[in-house]
Each structure stands twice: as structure tokens, then as C-alpha cells.
């Protein structure tokens, strides 16, 4: 298995990172994965969410996969991917500090007159050179490209990981790097080609021709939001400009890649959505910008998994279309490396596990465990596996698991609820109404799913008549714990297997 690197660039890129972490939790990722984000708007809500998701993932994975202590075993897909990041720097901000401007980047005031004039020709002196960039490049790729290329340094800890990986190719290690961003907007549109070309030039500098593969997914316009106020329109990205920007950017990429003797990307995936998904709210940036997950982003995860997990990297530019423009179902997901139903199977199993854990088992793993300590499932999958319920850490671990599963359900519910409006017949994947509500442009997870809704657990996943909660409980009681499963991992593994459709 190759060393895999996933870099999300810009706001959309960080959302795709978030998406890929959840996909990896469901077992769709590679065995090992390094994740990083590049965003000028470091305080962006989406970046913060992805960062928090990665940390939570790593925490839960330690709970489930610490050999000797608690181990779900290596044959189970759940939390299979060992995700690593640059410690303390999950995301890289090209221009850190409070309200940097392009003038600061170029040390404009220190330049001689001729250079200042040149820069004035390239960038608008008032609107662009003095634009505060603490909340991103505001849909101006030209600014972003300059900032990013000027700030990537070989000794920056974030980039050291990538450059070391490139070096390791000399020793025969196969390295696969996947970039993802939007083609519209600022940071992503500028960072995507800049970083890709930077990696290629580093490879050339080191004389590496083979062993490093570069893949990428570009999000074409797939959502729109209400037009910002007149006072903000010059400062921020707005949806009406997305198509125009995308056309320009695609033309730019075409010319850029055409000229190069060696292709920058081994594989390039283009993902879009028609008609655009309408988002009800808009924030120009900062911690309030926390756009909901949307279905098209899941395709970047599948593209990354295809790129990372295939035996060999075949060159190409890939696109996909759904079967019916008015509907979306499981059949519209692509297979990953000849595993036809892997997306449906893994996401279904993860969803069922998360819901069953939250609604049925969790209360009996914390406060009420004494009531069920003699029941078969509890004895076999927990007590016999050495889980100590008198230890406070045990309860903390179960709480962490609950938090992760709740976040996953929230992510899934957001993705489906918000993506519904662009598909006439709706998104027919998971009956998210069972555990969530969509009201006033907000998705909330039910505090407690009602019993009559839980009775429909077998039809939670569309198009599959899977086992009911009673059947899941039956399987839990008769589950055999393999020898290489221990601790909490034994219980979660049993639940995961019992929730198989």
C-alpha cells in the first residue's frame, strides 16, 4: 500500500477533508493517510470543523485500535484508516497574522518605483493590494496564487511532510498525493494548480520521475447562496460569479497543462452538480462560515479512495453522471476499484451502527450498565474482554464514541437535507428524517428517536430491507468475539458486524 497524502485547499477543500474523514471512518479510506489543509481563512468554521473531526477521529481510533488494550482487529473496516497530520498544524495558512494584505506579502512599500508600478499593473492598487486577507482570498485566485507560491518553504513543518514523502520515493516507497479544492473562489482555485506544480517542480529538483503520483479533484460549481449585500459584493465570493470564474479557470488549466511536457496530474477528477444546490445562508468568512456538507463533496472522497487504493494509477480525467437527472440513489455512486457496492455497504453499515449505538446501547454502557451486566451481549463483548466499568476512562471512551457517531449522523443528515432541493425526487439514500429534522434552514439531530421510528430501523437505508433492531440485538447476543479483538473494540466490532445490511 502506498503512502497516501490528502490535501484540502480552501473552504471547499476543507469540507472535502471533513467528508473524507467520515468516509474513512466508514472504511472507505486507505490504510494510512496523512491529511492537511491549506486555507488563508484559518479561523474559517469549515476548517475548524474538519480539524476537530480529524482530532475526534484519531481519538476514537485510539480507543478502537490500540493492540493489547482495545482492538477491533484489522479485518474490520470501521476506522480502518490511520490518519496522521502535522502535529499542531493540521492546516497551513499562507499569510498568518491579523489582516495581512497583498502589500505586506510583497513588502510593497520597500520596493522601488518600477516594481511598484509593475505590481500596480497586476493588482488593483485600492481593491486588491489593500484587501485584508485574514478571511481568505475572496474569490481572487490571482492574489491567492501569489501569496501561496511566495510562502511555501521547504522548512515549514507542514510542507516538510510532503517533501520528505517525495524524498522517500527515491527509496522505492510509492507516494500518492491527492489535492482537492473548488475551481471557483479564491484559495482553492489559486492553490490547486500552484501546489500541484510546486510538487512537480520539487520532484524535478530531486530527480524523481517515478514513485510519486499526483491526483486531484476539482469541484466545479455545485452550490449557490443568496447574493451578499451591496457593501460586501466587492469583497466576497458570490454565487453568480461562480460559473464565469469556473470557465476562466478551466481555460487557464487547459492552457497550463497543455504546455507541460509531463502532465501535472496523473488523475484529475471534475465534480459538479446541476442544477446548483441552493444554500439558504451565507457568511463571507471567519468562524461563522460553516457551510453544510453537500452530496457532491462525497464524490471527491470516492475519487481519492479510487486514486489511493487502486493497484496502479492509470492516467486520465474522470467525470461521472447520475442515472436520472431528477433523482439520486445508491446506484449513482461509482464503484471503487471493482468493488461495486462498497460505498453503499460501508456507509449503510456505519450509519446503522452509529444510530444503534446512540439510541440503543450507549445508555447501558455508561450509567445503566449494572442493570444489564448479566446479559449475554454485555458479558461476552465487554466484561469478558476486560472492559472495566468502574474505571472513569471507560465511560469517557464511550462518550467519545457517542460524540463521533453523533457528528457522523449530523454530517449525513446535513448532506442529505441540504442537497435535496436540487433534485426533484429527492436524495434516496438514507431516511435521515428518522433521526433528524430540517426546519428554518437548519438541521437538528433528534434528542431521542421515538420508538415507532426505531421500528423502521430496517428501512433506514433506501433500497435495502436490512435487519431490524431486534435482529441486531439477537446477533449481538450470539456474536463470537475473535481472538484478536479486545476491550471496547470487541463490543464495537460486534455491533458493527451485527448492523451489516
Amino acid at each position: 500500500m502506498a503512502d497516501c497524502y490528502f490535501i484540502g485547499i480552501g473552504g471547499t477543500g476543507s469540507k472535502c477533508v471533513n467528508n473524507y474523514v467520515y468516509s474513512s471512518a466508514a472504511g472507505l479510506g486507505p490504510d494510512r493517510l496523512w491529511i492537511g489543509m491549506v486555507d488563508q481563512d484559518d479561523a474559517n468554521g469549515n476548517v475548524a470543523e474538519s480539524r476537530s473531526n480529524i482530532e475526534n477521529y484519531q481519538r476514537v481510533r485510539r480507543i478502537l485500535r490500540t493492540p493489547g488494550l482495545s482492538d477491533i482487529n484489522d479485518k474490520t473496516d470501521l476506522f480502518k484508516t490511520n490518519i496522521t497530520t502535522q502535529v499542531g498544524q493540521t492546516s497551513w495558512c499562507p499569510l498568518p497574522g491579523t489582516a495581512p494584505t497583498l502589500k505586506d506579502v510583497f513588502s510593497y512599500d520597500l520596493l522601488n518605483k518600477d516594481l511598484q508600478d509593475t505590481i500596480d499593473c497586476l493588482y488593483h492598487p485600492q481593491e486588491e493590494l489593500n484587501l485584508e486577507l485574514d478571511e481568505g482570498f475572496r474569490a481572487r485566485p490571482s492574489i491567492g496564487a501569489a501569496a501561496i507560491l511566495s510562502r511555501v518553504q521547504e522548512n515549514d513543518p507542514f510542507w516538510v511532510n510532503i517533501f520528505n514523502a517525495i524524498d522517500s520515493a527515491k527509496a522505492g516507497t510509492e507516494v500518492r498525493i491527492f489535492l482537492v479544492s473548488s475551481i471557483f473562489g479564491g484559495t482553492g482555485a489559486s492553490g490547486f494548480p500552484s501546489i500541484a506544480r510546486l510538487i512537480r517542480s520539487e520532484m524535478d529538483k530531486r530527480g524523481i520521475r517515478d514513485g510519486v503520483h499526483l491526483g486531484g479533484a476539482l469541484m466545479l460549481p455545485y452550490f449557490k447562496f443568496p447574493k451578499p449585500g451591496e457593501d460586501e459584493i466587492k469583497e466576497v465570493a458570490y454565487a453568480e460569479s461562480f460559473l464565469e470564474q469556473s470557465r476562466g479557470a478551466l481555460d487557464y488549466y487547459h492552457r497550463l497543462f497543455e504546455k507541460e511536457q509531463r502532465k501535472t496530474f496523473d488523475q484529475l477528477y471534475l465534480v459538479g452538480w446541476d442544477p446548483l444546490i441552493e444554500l439558504p445562508v451565507f457568511e463571507k468568512g471567519g468562524n461563522l462560515q460553516r457551510n453544510p456538507a453537500l452530496l457532491p463533496e462525497l464524490f471527491t472522497s470516492l475519487a481519492a479512495s479510487r486514486f489511493f487504493m487502486s493497484n496502479s494509477v492509470d492516467n486520465g480525467i474522470f467525470h461521472i453522471a447520475r442515472n436520472d437527472a431528477n433523482a439520486f440513489s445508491w446506484d449513482d455512486f461509482p464503484e471503487i476499484n471493482d468493488q461495486q457496492k462498497i460505498v453503499k455497504d460501508n456507509l449503510s453499515q456505519m450509519t446503522r451502527t452509529a444510530l444503534a449505538y446512540r439510541e440503543i446501547y450507549y445508555p447501558y454502557l455508561v450509567d445503566q450498565w449494572r442493570k444489564v451486566k448479566n446479559e449475554s451481549w454485555f458479558r461476552n463483548t465487554l466484561l469478558k474482554q476486560g472492559v472495566d466499568f468502574n474505571n472513569d476512562e471507560t465511560s469517557l471512551n464511550f462518550n467519545n464514541l457517542l460524540a463521533y457517531f453523533e457528528n457522523y449522523l449530523d454530517w449525513l443528515a446535513n448532506m442529505i437535507h441540504f442537497s435535496q432541493n436540487a433534485t426533484v425526487q429527492g436524495i434516496d439514500l438514507v431516511d435521515v428524517n428518522m433521526f433528524s429534522q430540517y426546519e428554518n434552514s437548519q438541521v437538528t439531530i433528534s434528542d431521542k428517536v421515538r420508538d415507532h421510528q426505531l421500528k423502521q430501523f430496517n428501512s433506514l437505508i433506501s433500497g435495502v430491507n436490512s435487519s431490524s433492531l431486534a435482529k441486531v440485538f439477537l446477533k449481538m447476543n450470539y456474536s463470537r468475539v475473535p481472538k484478536n479483538r479486545t476491550g471496547i473494540g470487541a463490543f464495537v466490532g460486534a455491533l458493527y458486524e451485527s448492523c451489516k445490511s
Binding site: K371, V372, N374, E375, S376, N380, L454, F473, Y478
Partner: protein, 183 residues
């Protein structure tokens, strides 16, 4: 597989009661009582009326053997089998879908137990004592002891069998089962 195992368990436990009862009642086993099935019935089960001729006692014992004991054993076997199968079906239909729920249905176990004891006791009383073919052949103290014995055996049979045939999900419906059964 689970249900096949349950049927095997039912057969074994019911057999452990019915087969010895049949052997004792119909075969001459040297070390049991007088070593003769009819004599055992005469001396231990029939009413000890000193005025009854010996020949009539033998006829009564034979009648009791064929018209009382034999149908009793057949009906008990059938009844117990049906009762246990119904128990399995009912508990499966409870559709227990979460922990700490099954024990709420313990009353069903007690209901089945009551039916088991009552019907087993009544069948014994009817077939061995009150039916007209063998009416009062058996003495009063003897039938009381036999009914008591049947009830005790039924109780043990019911508890042990349900202990093993009840699914792990429904085990909390059987008193103390979750403590006794360690799987």
C-alpha cells in the same frame, strides 16, 4: 441451528422423565419395587382394599396400565412438547430489540409455568383417577403423591428446559437464568 438445538434439548429433558416412567410402568425391572410392573402398580398405586379379590386387582392394574398410564404419558409428552415450542415461538415474537427489556416479560414465564403445572397435574388426576375407565382404582393418598410428584417433576423440567431453550436475548425472562448461564 438455534432452534434445532432447542428441539434436541426438549427431547432429551422430556425423555428423561417420560422414558423412565414408561419403563417402570411397562417393563419388569428387577431392582425396582417387586421386580414386576403389574405387581408394582398393585402394591404402590392401586387402592389398598383388603376385600378386593387378587384376580380383580390384576385386572384393575392392567386396565390402569393401558387406559391410564399409557395415555397419560402420551398426552404429557405431547403437551410438554407443544408448550415448549409455543414458549419458543412466543419469546421470539416478543422481538426484544434492546438491553434491559426482556426481563419485563418474566410474567410470561410464570404464566407458562402455571399452565404447565396445572395441566400436568390435572392430566395426571384425570387419566389415573377420575376418568370412568379407571375410576378410583388408584387410592386417595397415592394419587395425591403422584400428582405432587408430577408437579415437582414438571417444575424442574420446565425450569431446566427453558433455561436451555430460551434464546440469549430472552434469557432475562427466565428467573436467575442470566446468572446461571454464563454464555
Amino acid at each position: 441451528m438455534r432452534h434445532i438445538f432447542s428441539l434436541i434439548v426438549i427431547s432429551i429433558f422430556v425423555g428423561l422423565i417420560i422414558v423412565p416412567a414408561y419403563l417402570v410402568s411397562f417393563f419388569d425391572i428387577g431392582f425396582i419395587g417387586r421386580g414386576d410392573a403389574i405387581q408394582n402398580i398393585i402394591f404402590y398405586i392401586l387402592d389398598q382394599d383388603p376385600n378386593m379379590p387378587g384376580e380383580e386387582r390384576v385386572w384393575n392394574a392392567e386396565d390402569l396400565q393401558l387406559l391410564g398410564i399409557q395415555p397419560l404419558l402420551i398426552y404429557l409428552t405431547a403437551f410438554w412438547f407443544i408448550l415448549f415450542i409455543v414458549w419458543i415461538i412466543i419469546t421470539e415474537f416478543l422481538r426484544i430489540d434492546r438491553p434491559n427489556k426482556a426481563f419485563k416479560f418474566m410474567w410470561i414465564w410464570f404464566l407458562f409455568l402455571a399452565v404447565m403445572l396445572a395441566l400436568s397435574g390435572y392430566m395426571t388426576y384425570y387419566f389415573l383417577y377420575s376418568q370412568k375407565e379407571v375410576y378410583q382404582y388408584v387410592g386417595g393418598p397415592q394419587i395425591t403423591s403422584i400428582i405432587f410428584l408430577t408437579t415437582i417433576l414438571s417444575l424442574i423440567l420446565f425450569y431446566l428446559t427453558t433455561l436451555f431453550i430460551t434464546s440469549r436475548v430472552n434469557r432475562p425472562t427466565v428467573p436467575l437464568a442470566t446468572i446461571l448461564m454464563r454464555t
